[in-house]
Amino acid sequence: MSPILEIRGLSKRFGGVTALSGVDLAIEEGEILGVVGPNGSGKTTLFNVVTGVHMPSGGSVSFRGRDITGLKPHAISRAGIGYTFQQAMAFAGLRVLENVQIAGEHVRVNAGASHHPWPTPLALLDFVGLAALADERAGVLPFGSLRLLGLALALASRPALLLLDEPAAGLNDRETAALVGLVRQLPGHGITVCVIDHDMKLMQMLCRRLAVLDFGSKIADGPTGAVLADPKVLDVYLGGDL
């Protein structure tokens, strides 16, 4: 089976700084893949290049066999890649339900998704546990709820692949557990997931497979247990001293 997302030789340079150098990564349909690495290893840059925020300096990205390298963010979203941001984001001045309604309004052109029945905005809010807050202004939500709303927004855009950038950052243990419970259900609904984080505990809970980035290069890729036992990974990730 061919992977849903295939990244080949992806590079990104900002002036003289190389953020990514020749990264190859394949995401298989239906898995939850974790991308880990220390701060500045290129994780978020990888997301930003895949989602069209940055143009790659080299390499290619193909999604379901279609080349999407260098497409604009909205086009990538319409192609079926949803993503959430490291900073929890919502349309603060609009009501929670309106937020999710907007999120679902601009993806009908996505031919792949339009044939499936998709949950209504309210059902999505129910899924993430925010239905009771549907009429509140998004700006007044506490941080944990804002993260969940971000997830609902990304889901409303009918993704086949969902990229989560540090989804648990700033959440307490209870909120993190709730989020893990939600994300684990996604492959069952036909949504492939790729998570970036440096929280190893979270990654062990979520992912069977991990890819490790360091200084913009992939240094390991495989089953979570094997990757975490890899001395190379231990060295860069936990620091040579440990």
């Binding site: 979203s77 319409r78 001045g93 609009l94 339900l97 907007i102 993806v107 052109v109 309210l122």
Partner: protein
């Protein structure tokens, strides 16, 4: 359950926002019964013509969150289109309307495509520069644009055979156009399109991540505001009978931005309130032009600091507080506290 209740509830509350505006406009339409002076009518017509452009600006600034500091240029394109068509093709008022709307929309697109590639403050500067540029082009346009002298516009405005050039009739016609502009702006604000524009205003990156083509929608909003401006320009040209480049340069543009900010760009009553207030404030206070500019400046600073959502939203806030507290005697105190709340809520 909530889902079935929601659209109904918001449709009614949306209508509730439009109704006061239409009632006020109906009352304004009755003013000629009081046999007002010609000076009052002229002033009111100018204000009304501005308000039409302001309704377009409210879609751009209030909904989409982008501010044009060259909006008078779009009005100018409409006015010159009307004048040139009348001179070269003997086109009357009614045919000039769609032509000018189209011309202003096109000009907005031409300005918008390069300007909106750069965001935020740069767009403000770009529109300002384009506004100045248009004035320079018109001034150097030779006989075609009438150079610095401008163009005369002759020919009566008729509606169903009736001559509308008479001041009172023109006044009534402008009021009708203002009502149409208010309804059009209201319809845009309450449509899914308006909601998309608000999403862009709130968070561009998030909007793009959800499949919204941010660039195209921003240019679209600018083009929509251009249509309003073009129509406003035709009414202006036929009202004044003579147009010249300075009318559409930087000062009028700044005034338009000021009016929409003072009135409040996000509420449907805002443009009407801003347009009327800025037009009649110097009359009521008996100010000369220099003094009135100072007053406008102070007003703008006060509104930005105290009532960031504009005068109408601020007044509404005060009213709600008065009703809630039931202590109308402490009006001054209430005013002070109420005026600080919008900024607190927003932050």
């Amino acid at each position: 359950m909530i889902a079935s209740r929601q659209p109904n509830g918001s449709a009614i509350s949306a209508l509730r926002s439009l109704l006061p505006v239409l009632v006020v406009l109906a009352l304004i339409a009755l003013v000629p019964l009081l046999s007002p002076s010609n000076r009052f009518l002229s002033l009111a017509i100018s204000a009304g013509i501005n308000v039409i452009a302001l309704y377009g600006l409210s879609v751009l600034f209030g909904q989409t969150g982008i501010l044009s500091m060259g909006h008078a240029a779009l009005v100018g394109v409409g006015a010159y289109t009307a004048a040139i068509l009348a001179r070269d093709l003997c086109t009357g008022f009614w045919l000039a309307l769609p032509a000018a709307a189209l011309a202003s929309a096109l000009f907005a697109m031409i300005v918008g495509i390069p300007s909106l590639r750069v965001g935020g403050h740069h767009f403000v500067i770009m529109t300002f520069a384009f506004g100045q540029l248009l004035a320079i082009v018109l001034t150097n346009g030779g006989d075609y644009t009438g150079a610095a002298t401008g163009l005369d516009l002759v020919g009566p405005v008729t509606l169903f055979g009736a001559d509308m050039s008479d001041l009172t009739r023109y006044y009534l016609m402008v009021v009708a156009f203002v009502a149409a502009a208010a309804v059009a702006s209201w319809a845009i604000i309450n449509s899914p399109y308006g909601r998309t524009l608000r999403a862009i205003r709130e968070n561009e990156r998030l909007a793009a991540s959800l499949g919204i083509n941010v660039g195209r929608h921003k240019i679209g909003a600018f083009v929509v505001s251009g249509i309003f401006a073009g129509i406003s320009g035709v009414l202006l040209a036929h009202f004044l009978g003579h147009i010249s480049p300075t009318q559409f340069a930087s000062f009028p543009s700044i005034y338009l931005a000021l009016m929409v900010m003072i009135g409040g760009a996000r509420l449907i009553a805002g443009p009407l309130a801003g347009g009327i207030l800025v037009a009649f404030l110097p009359e009521v206070l008996n100010l000369d032009p220099v003094q009135s500019r100072i007053v406008y400046g102070v007003c703008l600073i006060a509104v930005i600091l105290l009532l960031p959502e504009g005068l109408i939203a601020g007044v509404g806030q005060v009213f709600r507080r008065l009703l809630a507290s039931g202590q109308p005697k402490q009006e001054r105190e209430e005013l002070d506290t109420a005026s600080t709340t919008p900024s607190e809520v927003r932050r």
